[in-house]
């Protein structure tokens, strides 16, 4: 892959990462919008009035209400002290510690007995009780004995069979039972056809209970996952605190859909009352760690704040109005750390910042709304919303954390890959260096040996031969004062011996596998003689790559062959011009050969005894190189071509 292509795919990858992040934001926003729409739709109060053709349902918001001092299952008579009330009606038992009963009577008029059953929809009914129609038991809303079920956020639906109804006045009697420390309440009741009311009830159950159950399961999964991450990375405490927030939310959300509380109703109510502050403190712990901050004093103060409040709730000495203040302070404080979180998120990336900001904003607004609803201390048709904003917040932050986790994991993996590459590159380099070192040591040893031999030859036999040559030359001059400077027979033998020694010495020189240096050395040695012979040398060579086969042994063979070719030109041919050429043929690793050509313009090779033997020697040496000698000769042009395999490996 070329670097430019690599960087391009990298950019595309970064682009798709960003696109995916924005897609997540968009989906979460869409989800929030969808929820808001659904909630507004079911939160809209039903129109009150009489049944008509267009709106066949009937809303009963007026009732007669009476309360017994104790608990009794008998339908009270007129001595109970009935009084007219508007629904929704909230009531409280006479004693904090006992169960309490209350009764309602609602009347409605039917012109005739309907052919089909009549549906009854009770938007809110706390906490349990029985429904009667015209003095006959229709159904129980829940068990009437301890522990009472958790019905505060659950709408009720019942079907009145036609035979229980009559033309004219009809009466619905409702028995309601609640704890003394609790509030009992009944919202306006709707009557209508099953086709109309069943979907209304189902929609309410979906938004109010089922969806919360689903979200609670999700936050539970997120919490468990985060705690798992934390177990693997203890030093990243933010995962721990976030896991705690998520699991606390899941536990708290039971209040919205569980039928029976997991602990006694009293304990459960105390937990539900203190949970929002606990959640705030846990979120604060998380936010600090997300921002990479630690504030030991403020952290201690917030824990103390929670513990004191929780003690007051469980000890039942929390004044009613104070609990709202207790919540409000947490809400205001959370606005501050949401702000911090958003800043840190923005510093990381725009996407993360925007996600943080929007989730925090939704969380604050909806929690504020719920607090307002709660502090009104009255029943309304409106739905509590924090249980939607909290999961939204948890999803957003969870997404961010998971993304961060995967990012750091990816980064670590990439780093590991890079490291691995570096290590293997280093290992390869070390190996190469080691081989080079070995090679260098071998070469050093060879060079040392070579130097020793050369020094021996230079100072020993070389010096002696040279001395002998100058002695013989002097003797020649002394014997014949008219000596023309030509070497005599002995001097010639001595000179040729020295020249052969020179050739051996040259073959031992460090030519670094360069054929041109080998040939150039020979040229350098022969230059004076060629010049004296009036021969022009044309150096028509091309550069060749290093040939590892050029060892002293093969160099000597090549030098001898080429020298012999030159000698032939000089001695016999009468040439005035010699051209030296070089070249390569074939494929490295398969059939690559190098060739050296010596072409002269002499009168061709004569079939003479000496020349024949010389040529025979050249052929033998060429064969020893694994190559061959090609000679073409005619008057005016003689070419001696030496060809030998380079033994080079195929280029990587």
């Amino acid at each position: 892959m070329t670097p430019s292509l690599g960087s391009l795919t990298g950019r595309v990858h970064a682009l798709s990462m960003r696109a995916r992040a924005w897609l997540t934001v968009a989906m979460l926003m869409l989800l929030a919008l969808g929820m808001a729409y659904g909630l507004i739709a079911i939160g809209r109060p039903a129109p009150a009035g009489v049944p008509s053709a267009a709106s066949p349902s009937l809303v009963l918001s007026g009732a007669e209400f009476c309360q017994f001092p104790g608990v009794s299952d008998a339908l009270p008579d007129d001595r109970c002290g009935w009084k007219s009330v508007r629904l929704a009606k909230l009531w409280k038992g006479p004693s904090e510690h006992d169960l309490a009963d209350a009764w309602y009577r609602l009347r409605f008029h039917l012109d005739a007995v309907p052919e089909r059953p009549l549906a009854m929809y009770l938007v809110a009914f706390n906490r349990t009780g029985r429904l009667y129609v015209n003095g006959q038991l229709l159904r129980e809303v829940g068990p009437m004995h301890e522990p009472l079920p958790l019905n505060w956020n659950r709408s009720q639906y019942a079907v009145i069979p036609a035979p229980m109804l009559r033309a004219g006045e009809n009466e619905i009697e409702i028995q309601q039972r609640a704890y003394g420390w609790d509030l009992g309440w009944l919202a306006p009741i709707r009557l209508g056809s099953e086709e109309e009311l069943r979907p209304v009830w189902q929609r309410r159950v979906f938004w109010q209970n089922d969806l919360v159950r689903l979200l609670g399961a999700c936050t539970g999964a997120i919490g468990v996952f985060m705690l798992g991450v934390w177990l693997g990375r203890r030093k990243d405490a933010m995962y721990f605190w976030f896991g705690c927030v998520s699991l606390l939310w899941t536990a708290f959300s039971l209040d919205y859909f569980a039928y029976m509380p997991p602990v006694t109703p009293w304990l459960w109510e105390r937990f539900v009352e203190s949970a929002p502050v606990l959640r705030g403190v846990l979120m604060f712990m998380f936010a600090l760690r997300y921002c990479g901050m630690r504030r030991p004093v403020i952290e201690a103060v917030s824990w103390l704040y929670f513990l004191v409040g929780a003690a007051a709730i469980f000890g039942e000495f929390m004044p009613n109005d104070t609990i709202d203040l207790w919540y409000l302070i947490v809400l205001v404080a959370s606005a501050y750390f949401f702000f911090l979180q958003t800043i840190v998120g923005l510093r990381r990336s725009l996407v993360e910042g925007v996600m943080m900001a929007s989730a925090s904003m939704v969380q604050i607004v909806l929690s504020g709304y719920d607090l307002w609803l709660y502090s009104a201390n009255t029943w309304t048709d409106r739905v509590y919303l924090a249980h939607f904003s909290a999961p939204l917040y948890l999803f957003v932050v969870g997404t961010i954390l998971i993304r961060r986790f995967t990012e750091s994991h990816n980064a670590a993996e990439k780093l590991a890959g890079v490291l691995e590459q570096r290590v293997s590159a280093k290992a390869a380099e070390l190996e190469r260096n080691y081989e080079q070192l070995l090679e260098a040591r071998r070469n050093e040893a060879l060079a040392l040996e070579r130097t020793r031999i050369m020094s021996e030859m230079h100072d020993g036999i070389g010096s002696q031969l040279t001395m002998a040559l100058s002695l013989v030359r002097r003797m020649d001059r002394e014997a014949d004062p008219a000596h023309n400077g030509e070497d005599g027979r002995v001097a010639t033998v001595l000179r040729e011996s020295i020249e052969d020694l020179q050739l051996i010495i040259d073959s031992l020189e460090p030519v670094e596998n360069d054929l041109l240096t080998v040939l150039g050395t020979l040229r350098y040695r022969l230059q004076d003689r060629l010049g004296k012979g009036g021969i022009e040398l044309q150096w028509n060579v091309v550069d060749l790559p290093p040939l590892p086969m050029l060892t002293p042994h093969s160099v000597l063979s090549i030098l001898r062959i080429v020298q012999e070719a030159f000698a032939n030109c000089l001695k016999h041919s009468g040439a005035t011009r010699i051209a030296v050429t070089t070249g390569l043929r074939g494929e490295p690793g398969i059939d690559e050969t190098a060739h050296i050509g010596i072409v002269d313009n002499g009168n061709g090779i004569q079939p003479r005894q000496g020349a024949g033997r010389g040529m025979e020697n050249m052929r033998r040496r060429a064969a020893a190189l694994g190559g061959r000698l090609l000679v073409t000769s005619h008057a005016g042009r003689t070419e001696v071509l030496l060809e030998f395999p380079t033994l080079r490996l195929r280029a990587a």
């Binding site: 070389g462 010096s463 001395m467 460090p510 360069d514």
Partner: protein
């Protein structure tokens, strides 16, 4: 070297010959006699005599044999290079092999001669040398390239003139010589005079000598000798 450069020379070049081979000295002296541009300043057969001559003698070129009975020719070269920078030193070798020649150049020699062919080449080589050109073989060129490459300054540092490294032109000349081209051919290819190319070689030799000296000083300093 065959490239002969005609220089207007009023005075013949004075030559000091240091060699323990009598027959050889005789040959050299005869060759000097035959050449009008050369004159024998002094001939000595050992290192002691050579030192005396170096200290007091008058000569322009020293012809030095490396193997003397009472000392090393390399030391003599170093002495001359240190005390008489205007003097050229030529080493007389049997084979002109890289080991002997490079050691001599490092000591400060700027030329060399083959003992057996000295009779024919002495005059031309000395004249060339005095004119500023030095002889060089392909193997020596290659070794020089190697030397300077190995010691080349860190690539990130900007090259400084005369820092002991090779100029681009010098490197080019060495590369051509290593590939067997003659000074004349190189001059043609680079559009220079043959003399300029030969001068490059001498400069390179001087650089190597300077380089070797600084390296020696550096090494000595490192070993605590200085």
């Amino acid at each position: 070297m065959p490239e002969t450069v005609e220089l207007p020379q009023e005075l013949p070049t004075r030559i000091l010959v240091v060699d323990d081979d009598d027959a050889f000295r005789e040959t050299v002296c005869a060759a000097i006699m035959r050449d009008d541009t050369l004159v024998l300043a002094e001939q000595v057969s050992n290192a002691e005599g050579a030192r005396e001559a170096i200290a007091h003698g008058e000569f322009d070129v020293a012809l030095i044999d490396l193997g003397l009975p009472d000392g090393n020719g390399i030391d003599l070269i170093r002495e001359i290079a240190a005390t008489r920078p205007e003097t050229d030193v030529m080493v007389v070798t049997v084979f002109g092999d890289e080991a002997h020649v490079l050691a001599s150049i490092e000591a400060g020699a700027t030329g060399y001669l083959l003992k057996r062919s000295l009779n024919d080449t002495l005059g031309a080589t000395v004249r060339e040398l005095r004119a500023g050109g030095s002889p060089i073989s392909p193997v020596i060129a290659r070794q020089l390239l190697h030397r300077f490459k190995k010691d080349s300054p860190v690539p990130s540092q900007p090259p400084v003139v005369d820092d002991g490294g090779l100029s681009e032109r010098e490197r080019e000349v060495l590369l051509f010589i290593a590939k067997g081209f003659t000074v004349g051919e190189i001059a043609n290819m680079l559009h220079l005079s043959a003399h300029t190319v030969a001068t490059h070689v001498k400069h390179i030799y001087r650089k190597l000598a300077v380089h070797s000296r600084t390296e020696a000083v550096f090494e000595a300093g490192r070993m605590g000798l200085l």
